[in-house]
Structure formats: C-alpha cells, structure tokens
Amino acid sequence: MGKQITVPFGPQHPVLPEPIHLDLVLEDETVVDAIPSIGYVHRGLEKLVEKREYPEYIYVAERICGICSYIHSNTYAECIEQIMHIEVPERAKYLRTIWSEYSRLHSHLLWLGLFADGMGFESVFMNAWRLREHVLDDMEATTGGRVIQGVCKVGGVRKDIAPEKLDEMLKGLKGMEHELRDLTNVFLNDASVIHRLRGAGVLSTEDAYYLGAVGPTARASGVPIDIRETGYNAYGQINFKPVVETSGDSYARCAVRAKELYTSIDIIEQCIKKIPDGPVDIKVTGAPDGEFFARAEQPRGEVVHYIKGNGKRNLVRHRVRTPTFTNIPPLVTLLKGCQLADVPIVVLSIDPCIGCAER
C-alpha cells in the first residue's frame, strides 16, 4: 500500500453549484475512499408542517427544490389525497403527468448543459440551456411560473390548459426534437466524450440496488427501477419503457438522461392525445387522519413523501427522502478506484441536487 493522503473536495468547487464536501483518500492519484459531508444549508422545511396548515404547506413542499419543484408539490398532494381517499379528476391526472414530464425535460437539459460545461464543452452547454428555455417558456405559459409553478393543489390542479395550447406545445416539442438529436448525438457518440466518460465511476448492478441508488444512477447500472411504472398520475394509462443501460459508468448515466428526453416527449404526446375533458379539481374538506408513503419519479429518481396526520389541519409529520440523499452512499462507492482528475465529472454524473438533500 502506498502513502495515503486526504484531499478535500468542496464544499465550494467549480463543478458544484451547491455545497457538498468529500474527503478523498488518495494513493498516488487514485481514490481509495471518500467520506461525504453535507448539512451546510439544511433548512428543516419539514418542520414547518407544525406551523402551516396542510393545504397551504404545499407551497413549502414545492420550494424544497428549484428544479423538481413541481414534482414535490405533486407528490405531497398525492400523499394527502391517498390518506383522505380523494379521487382526483382524470383530466387533472393527465395535466399533472404533462407537467411532471416537462419538469424532467428541463431538469435533464439543465444537467446535460452543466455536464458539458464540466467537460469543457461551452457551446454544448449553451445549446442545452437554449433548448431548455423552450421548455421553461411552456411551463410559464401554462402555469405562470418558470421555476416555482404553484399549479398543483390537494384535489387536483389550479389551472387547465386549453386544447389549442396543448396542440401548440406538442408542435413545439416535435419541432425541438431534431435539435435534441444534434445535442444528444454529442453526448452519445462524440469520441472525446466517450473517452472521458467510459469506465469512469463504475457502479455495479448489485451495489446500485443494495446501496439504494435511484433514478438514472440506478438505471445506468442495469437496475430498472422507475416509479412511474406504479401508475401514479396518468402513468398507468401511458405506454413507456424505462431507459436502462448496463455499464454503470459515467457514460451510461449520461446516456440514460439523454435518451429519457425522448421518452418524456413521447409521454407528453400520448397525454395530449388521450387527455379527457372534464373538471381539473374537486373541493376538499376535512383534514388527513392516517399515514402514507407517496412516491414519484423525479428527474434524479424516486422521491418519497411520508405524511402522518391526526385529523387536524396541521400535520404530525412530513418527511421527504429525496433522490440525491439516497444517491450519496452509491456516490461514495463509485468514487473508489477513480482518478482524482475524474472526481468532478463523476460527482456531476449522479446529478446531485443538494437543495433537495438539504430540504
């Protein structure tokens, strides 16, 4: 065994928009161990259920994250609805599915841009974010918000989308598709990208499963977990297959996200074709008495919202397990054996969202 030294990585680092710290134990330039440290910006939002009544707390739940914001509000609402046995109107379920997939599109494009930037591809970064603007424009046009939508509520959604607008959205996405092909072609086929990512930060299928990896991090290692398959919102009426890769390296994690862009567009297209007419919300009275674990597939993977209520307007507990939080142990494992120079790109490859983890 060579001499070991410990190199601190973060909490401030050029590839990290948010603070996470890793103590990297190195032998020469090879990482032999990584000790993670978070908690720099823990906000304790879950505690606010004791001060905010459950219908208004959805605004807090949505602010857990500035990227998966919509899906947090959707999952929180779903959890309350399951406890209170509320049947959400079908049209609202389809609208929720459409906005969820728009969230995935904008998150994946954001990540592809950041990942390109991390590898030194400035123009690819700008192109990814240019395309993301189109997605955000539709989010803003249909909900009123680019980052925080505020459109989901317990019992349905606050806004409907006119049929003409749905057609326009579909045309826009279809028009964007050929530009996405150009973009994802770089991530999937460019020789220098493949050389940079192949074999970097490998996570085996068994490790991914038992360490709790979720989302693209799990699916890139051959673990086909995708909570959309449980059929929440309108996913039960949509045909899709999770994107799964098997090599478990940074390239596979990148490829899963790149290919999922097309799955999202396909799901949105199916929703727009199938969406029924009807109301988008129902009146909700009373308060939740019971408990439930609601799960959804966020862009980074499975999110869990646990709620316990006692029949009062203030919940007893709201607990959120975010995908990044459960992807930390896999990150520790996949860093082992990496070269120090690869650490930034490998850390980025799990798409860490510290805002979520530090809810």
Partner: protein, 120 residues
Amino acid sequence: MAAEQTTVPIGVGELVAKTAEMKKNGCRLVQIGCTKVGDDYEINYVFDKDYALTNLRITVKQDTVVPSVSSVYFGAFVYENEIHDLYGITVTGMNIDFGGHFYRTTVKTPFAVTITKEGS
C-alpha cells in the same frame, strides 16, 4: 393507483435480524425516517421489492439506544446520522459516524421539539 404498502411493528431487539431478512429476500432499502408522536419516536425502516413497500417500525423513547443497520445496508448511515442529529436518538455501530456533525444546526436536535401554532 397506489402501490401496496404494509407496516409491521417490531421490537428494537429484532431490528438488525429483521433487516437482514429483508435483504436476504431481495428488498431494497428505500429510506429510514423518524416521527415524534407525543413522547415516543417512531422510526420507519422502509423497504421495496417489485414496487411493494414494507415498513418495519420500531417505537422508542429518546434515550433508547438503537442498533445501526449499516452493517446490513451500507447506505443506512445517512439516515441514521440524520436521526441522531435531528432527534437526538443514539444509534450505535454506524459504519460512518459523523458524531453529531452530519447536519450543522443552530439548535440541538431541532426535530425533537414540537412547535405549536402560537410559536411556543
């Protein structure tokens, strides 16, 4: 459409063995979370297999010493350190023990305190 979920109350003494049994059955650890209910603390160990959830629940007091399950599921350390820092419950045998520094909080064990609407 809600996937199946079952809660099974267990004793602290059987926690590690039951967790090992879940792993042997091919379950994935989804999360560990704590809820303060009156003077008691419910700790939920949630597992998934084929999208069906099984929740092993122990109910403890704040001074109960809870054994770590990180020897069974390596990734449990993030949840166990979190429970220690937010609720003040001692978890022994964690594979990575942050010694109370997993979260940097201005108030010690903030989630062990219940806030009333009046702010007291």
